[in-house]
Each structure stands twice: as C-alpha cells, then as structure tokens.
C-alpha cells in the first residue's frame, strides 16, 4: 500500500516530483517512523511464521489458554486450542495486509483512471460510465460474493476479487468530482491550446492535481477493507480454519475477553498500530506530493 502510491507517481508527473516528494517525506518524522514500523510489521508477517517455534495449527497439549510468557516459547500466549497466538497473528497479518494491498491497488488503478476519464470526457460518455458505477453500487455486496462462490467455488482469491470489485467505485466518484472541477482551470485549457493529447492531459495535469483527496481516501480504504474481510470470514465466506486473519482473531478474542485478554489485545495492537501508521504516512505523502508545503 505504501509502495504503490510512490511507484505510480513517476509516470504521472515526471520523476523529479517523485524524488522531491521522497526527500520531503523523509523530513517528516512521523511519516518516516510510520514507514519504518509498517515495513517491520510487513517483514514480520512475511518471515515471522517460519521463525516462531510453533506452527500455525500445531497444538501444544501442555498449554491451553496460557498467558504470554518467555519461558515456554509462547511469547503472546495461546488460544483455547493450545495454538501459539504470535504465530497465528503473524499468519493472519499475511492475509489482512495482502487483502488491504490488493484491494487498495485495485481501487487506485481502476478507480482513479475510470473517474479521471469519465470526468475528462464528460457528456454522454461520462453519463454512461457513471450509470455503470451506479448499477454496481446497487448490487448487494453479499449477493455478489455468494454469486462468485457459486460460480468459482470457495477460494481465498475470491475475497480479493469481490472486495476489489466494490472498492474502486467510491474512488472513481471522488476522482471524477475532482477532475470535473480541475478541467475548467486555465492550466488545462492552456494544455489544450498547446495541442497536448487527451491522455497526456489526464495523466500529467488532471491526476497529479487530484492526488490529495485520493491519498486521504486510500488511508480510509485500508481499514475498511481489513474489517470487510473479517466480516466475510465471520460469515464463513472468507478465510477458513486453520487459516486466519487479524479480523478473525479479534472477533475470537472478543469472546474470550474476560478469561484471556491477550487473545484480544495482541491482534488488536497489531491492527491498530498498522492503521495508525497508515494514517500518518498518508498525511505525510499528501504533504510531500504537494509542492506548496515545502
């Protein structure tokens, strides 16, 4: 999620803006710290499960619902089935973070382009494109997911597809609104007068200037997606045991809150920290990409 915005900017505005932005981002302490924490979390989720002494569904018959301790190797305690919580949280992080990454990428790529093109072309094309968005909105989300299940069978990839298919709708509307306002500005008219081609006007003039609200919206999308995934899993449509995700772990932990608080606390801390970092990073990126805040 952090890399995709940084990667997609160079071809939008020439690499000097991206390099500038990177320099300014590093000057922002909160954003830099968030970036480091996010990188560490991601790294821990990717390689962590191999390093912990316990497997994902390995049951320790000597430790049911034990509190975190350094002595027995259950650094974050165990759940009611005697499985190591830290291993499960790191495993769950893989699912949650990848869902967040994929859904956000999809919403960025499709949503920004679709909205910018609709707003730029305007008239009948805009009307048709936005009516299609309206139709997609009116489809009940659950119905869409169940439909996909029926057709393709149960598969974790379907969650990515289903969430991605809805998340770009909001983004396209936001970008279209921005572009409608931007395309009346004189610098866009000047680009027309220079003979700049339509697709260049969209990528070089319209999208870079709409980036502020886009980044803010992206930081809102990530938590939404992570929670949506846990909701699907709760209904039995998402990841299934023994696989898990942060959302699932939190909802399990909630039931054991009084007897085993660590089951709620550990995954919650991971999720909260990630979302907090994303917000700081989003703010930092928005400022870094705006030359005015130098």
């Amino acid at each position: 999620m952090t890399t995709d915005t940084a990667v997609s900017t160079p071809d939008l505005a020439g690499d000097s803006l991206a390099r500038e932005a990177w320099r300014r981002l590093r000057q922002n302490q909160a954003a830099t710290l968030s970036l480091v924490l996010l990188a560490l979390t991601t790294l821990a989720c990717v390689i962590g499960p191999w390093l912990t002494p316990w497997g994902l569904d390995e049951v320790d018959w000597n430790a049911f619902l034990t509190a975190p301790s350094l002595a027995d190797g259950h650094y974050a305690g165990t759940d009611a089935n005697g499985r190591d919580l830290l291993t499960r949280v790191l495993h769950g992080g893989r699912v949650s973070l990848s869902v967040a990454l994929v859904a956000t990428l999809v919403s960025l790529l499709i949503g920004v382009l679709y909205g910018a093109v609709a707003g730029f072309l305007g008239g009948r094309v805009d009307n048709l494109m936005m009516r299609f968005v309206d139709i997609m909105y009116s489809l009940p989300f659950m119905f869409l997911v169940i439909l996909l299940m029926v057709v393709f069978g149960r598969n974790i990839l379907l969650i990515y597809a289903a969430i991605g298919a809805v998340e770009w709708l909001d983004m396209s509307r936001i970008v279209r609104g921005q572009v409608l306002a931007l395309k009346r500005r004189e610098f866009v008219e000047a680009a027309h007068a220079l003979g700049v081609r339509g697709h260049k006007i969209v990528t070089r003039h319209l999208i870079p200037n709409a980036i502020g609200p886009v980044i803010v919206y992206v930081t809102l999308t990530v938590p939404k997606v992570i929670l949506l995934e846990s909701f699907l899993s709760f209904l039995g449509l998402g990841v299934q045991e023994p696989l898990t995700s942060w959302g699932v772990l939190i909802s399990e932990g909630k039931d054991m809150m009084e007897t085993a608080p660590w089951m709620l606390l550990v995954p919650s801390v991971f999720l909260a920290l990630t979302l907090l970092c994303l917000n700081f990073l989003g703010d930092g990126l928005r400022d870094a990409l705006d030359p005015k805040t130098r």
Binding site: A13, G14, S16, L17, F187, L194, G195, K292
Partner: protein, 537 residues
C-alpha cells in the same frame, strides 16, 4: 477643519506565524475627519486592508496589533483595539459599517435580500416587523435598485453584481453610520457599474454626512472620488495629502511610480499592405442550455456573427464588459470552443479541422490567460510547464536541447533561467504571468491571444508586463489579439479596437479615431466610466 472621527495612532500589526513574525502594518498614523472621503491606496500586500479590518476589530487570531485606533464619534475617545467586545459590536454597524470587494460572497445565498437588511435593522435599531420592512424598502430605493418592491423578495443569485453591491451598501447604511469603510467595493464590477456605484456612494455621503474610508488600488477612482489620499507600501505610510495636490506634485518616488504606472504610449502602426494573418467571417458560438424531452433544445448564443480580420504584426484590442462574449470569441478563434462560421489562419481554413489536424497549427497560435494563479499547474516545475509544448511540437528534441530552449524562453521574458526548477507557487503574480508568456513563446508562435493578461496584476507590475509584451512584439514580429476590459491598456497597446456587447460588435475601428471620436453611445459610456475623458493622450 472638520472634527477628527477616526484616528490611527502608530498602528502596528504583527502576525505571529510558525515561520516567525511578519509585520503587515508598521506604525502608521492618519486621521479620517467627519464627512470626508479618505482614500487608502496601495498595491497588494501593502497592508491597507489589514489596517481597516483592525479598525473593525475583525483581525484574525494570529494578529498582534499595537498602537491605537481612536474613535472620536462617541462620548469621549475610545481605543478600538482595547474597547470591550460588546461595545465594539454596537459600534460596528451603528457607527462604523463596512462593504467588501466581493458582493457575491458577502450575502447569504439562502435568504432573501429584504430579510438580510431587516436582520441588520433588528440588531441595531428598535424597528421591527412591518416598520423594519418599510425601512428596508426605503433603503433599497435609496441605493437605486430598480423595482425595489419586487427585489426586496429576491434571492442574491437573482441580482446582478452591481445590484448585490447596492444591497450591501443598503445594509451598511441601515443605521446611518458616521463612517463607511469601503474595501475595494468596485473592483469586482464592470466599469460602467463601477461608475454608478461610485456616484451612488458620493450621493449618499452628501445625504447622510458620513465619512468614507475608501480602500483601493485604482488611482483613477481615487483621483475622481477622494478628498484626501494616503499611499501605503509594504505596511508603511509613504505619503498623504489633498488629492489634487498629491497628483499634481507627488513627493515620494513610490507615489510618482504609481501615478506613472498608468499605461502610456501608443503602438506604431503596421504597413498598410501587411498580409492578413487571422480572419473570421460570421463567427457564432452557441451553448446549449439543457435539453428537455419533446422540446427543441434551448440555446444561448454567446457570440453572434462576428467578422474580424487581423494583419501580421497588428494588435487588435477587444473591449467589453463581463458577459460580452469577448473571451468566448478568443477561445473560438483558437478552436478551443466549437463554433460556426469561417476562420482562416494564414492560408489554412481552421473551421472543420479536428484536434489532430489542428495540432501542427497550435504551435503557431498561442494563448496567455488572465489568472496567473490558475493558468500554471501547481504540481509541475516551471521548466516542465514551459517545456511541455516542446514535447508535443518538437518531440525529436533531446532533454538537453529542450532545456536550452526553456532557458532561452525564460530569458526572453526577463526571468532568471535558474528558476526553471522551482514551482509556480513560489512566484509573484507578475512573475507567473511572465512564465505563462514564456510557455507560449517557447514554441515561437506567430499569433498570441492575450486574454486579460494584466487584469489580475497590480498597476506597477502591469506596466512592466505591458512593456514586456511590446518588446516581444517588436523583437519577434508577433501578432496580438488583446482582450481586456481596461480601456487604458488597450489604448496603449492596440492598432485597432473592437467594442463588444452581448456577443455582438458595437463599434470597431482604428484605436485613436475610436478613442477620440466614439460613434456609439455605449462606447462613450464605457470611456466616461473609465475616466478616460479629458486625460492627456
């Protein structure tokens, strides 16, 4: 000598910002007397508006005022900077009122104008109900709103800009204040409307015997309207005095520069047999006003059959008030808007060319817009902005060659080429306008459409941009179509002038002939409003 009414005594306003303290006003002292019009003149950033908002107690929280602003209108003297908030609120509206530049945003769009006036009356007088409404009606009548009995129930958007400013004045007058602070009240208005509003203010001043503190950047207004003038620059008061004396013999260099900044000189005519560069016949631009089922589409015609021809090297000025279709005409000529009618550029018929066929021609006809803030993309460096046209029209150029051309264009408009790595927001309005001109010039065009290129600039900056445009025209043999509402600028730059109103040509002809002996009543009215009559040529 009349009684002093409002006395600024070494007023100083500091703004404590994160980056340090910025002083907007530095120890200025002057006095407004009863019944006089005092003009506070200065360019943007001179602190003239900050001084007046300080008197109204409307400074933002970051401001730290010091010194004193003494009000002599009540019993005893009061310092408006230290007076109790309740007392200040009563003074504001009852004794001192203010009108602002933008009549569009100063009125609440959701309430009828009558109700907004009644609201003021209810707050500051004992008038209620029918009596208040009757008084509101009387006020609207006094400020010259046509059909006040009907207009009192209008919403702000149903009124024109001039009418909205009249409503604002009615609200300001509701309690018969002793002092009216007018902050650029006519800047957003057309010249003819501006003249009407000024006459109205003068008239009301006589009737109510109030004083006016008139804040403006327009010396033409000051000369005809004010009794005394204070000139401000960068927060300091550089000169003050009686209007006539100050204009006759300005003591300070800055004042002299402001007065001299009125555009002067005339354009040297081009040869009679210069070839035609741009020609339009019966040009029409129509905008659809929304379609309804089973009904013919309603259409608004913004340009109604205009003939125009421009010879190589000429400057043709188009003047007209807002809504006259002058900008629409310019955009249609460059094929930025759909139009009907013939347009010929050099030997090519432009009408009917699609955007691909138009592209090679675009490098030969360029445009500079009015707003130096809106016409440059805030997320591109100056170098990228200027170089963009080269990417389209000279794609074979390498990075280095393109950069050399960009530097050359920047030097052409008298900017430091090192600036190309910076972003537009780091530049002042005049510099941005130069960047916009450089963007057009880098393609080495033959024809330049200048759409109000100086209207958003201060007078002194305006003079330098005009000098630059003149110089560039002479050096590169450019042909200009100059759109402006500012008759003084057009007179100084154009060979011939077209006067437009409601999408049609009212009068056109050679600049000097037209300015010396305008045939049409509308042209005469425009010139009278712009105070061009009787001024030395």
């Amino acid at each position: 000598m009349q009684q002093p009414l409002l006395e600024f005594d070494r007023l100083r306003v500091d703004f404590s910002l994160p980056g340090g303290t910025v002083t907007a006003v530095r120890d200025i002292s002057f006095t407004v007397h009863e019944g006089e019009t005092l003009a506070l003149v200065g360019e943007s950033g001179s602190g003239k508006s900050v001084s007046s908002t300080a008197a109204m107690g409307l400074l933002p929280d970051l401001a730290r005022p010091s010194g004193a602003i003494r009000w002599h209108g009540g019993e005893g003297d009061e310092d408006l900077l230290t007076v109790a908030p309740g007392r200040l609120r009563r003074l504001r509206g009852n004794e001192i009122s203010m009108i602002f530049q933008e009549p569009m945003t100063s009125l609440n769009p959701l309430h009828r104008v009558g109700r907004q006036i009644v609201e003021v009356l209810a707050k500051h007088t004992s008038l209620r109900g029918q009596a208040a409404r009757a008084r509101a009606l009387e006020l609207l009548e006094q400020v010259g709103i046509p059909e006040p009995a009907r207009r009192i129930d209008s919403y702000p958007h149903e009124l024109s800009g001039g009418q909205r400013q009249r409503v604002m004045i009615a609200m300001a007058l509701a309690c018969e204040p002793k002092l009216l602070i007018a902050d650029e009240p006519t800047t957003a208005l057309d010249v003819t409307v501006q003249a009407q509003i000024l006459t109205l203010l003068e008239d009301l001043k006589q009737r109510y015997g109030m004083a006016i503190l008139f804040i403006t950047h327009d010396l033409g207004i000051v000369r005809h309207f004010a009794d005394r003038v204070c000139v401000m620059r960068q927060g300091e008061l550089v000169e003050s005095g009686e209007t006539a004396a100050l204009f006759a013999a300005p003591r300070h260099d800055y004042t002299r520069m402001l007065i001299d900044a009125e555009p002067r000189g005339r354009k040297a005519p081009v040869a009679e047999d210069a070839p035609l560069l741009l020609e339009a016949r019966d040009l029409r631009v129509r905008f659809p006003l929304g379609k309804r089922l089973f009904r013919p589409m309603e259409v608004f015609e913004a340009v109604r059959g205009i003939d125009l021809s421009i010879r190589r090297g000429q400057t043709v000025g188009i003047v007209g008030e807002s809504g006259s279709g002058k900008s629409t005409l310019g955009r249609a000529l460059l094929r930025l808007l759909e139009s009907q009618g013939d347009i010929r550029f050099d030997d090519t018929a432009l009408d009917g060319l699609d955007s691909t066929a138009m592209r090679p021609l675009r490098s030969r006809m360029q445009v500079v817009f009015q707003d130096p803030f809106g016409s440059l993309s805030p997320r591109m460096t100056v170098g990228e902005i200027i170089g963009e046209g080269l990417r389209v029209h000279a794609p074979a150029l390498g990075r280095r060659e393109r950069d050399a051309r960009v530097q050359e264009a920047l030097r052409d408009v008298a900017l430091d080429p090192a600036m190309r790595r910076r972003y537009p927001h780091e530049f002042s309005g005049g510099q941005r306008q130069r960047i916009a001109i450089a963007r057009a010039l880098v393609l080495k065009p033959e024809f330049l459409l200048l759409d109000e290129p100086t209207s958003a600039l201060d007078r002194s900056v305006q003079a330098t941009v005009i000098a630059l445009l003149r110089d560039l025209q002479a050096r590169h043999g450019l042909t200009y179509l100059f759109i402006s509402h500012d008759l003084a600028v057009v007179r100084a730059l154009a060979d011939s002038v077209v006067v437009m109103k409601d999408g049609a040509v009212i009068e056109q002809g050679d600049t000097e002939t037209l300015f010396q002996a305008p045939r049409e009543a509308y042209t005469r009215e425009l010139m009278r409003a712009a105070f061009l009559d009787g001024e030395a040529a």
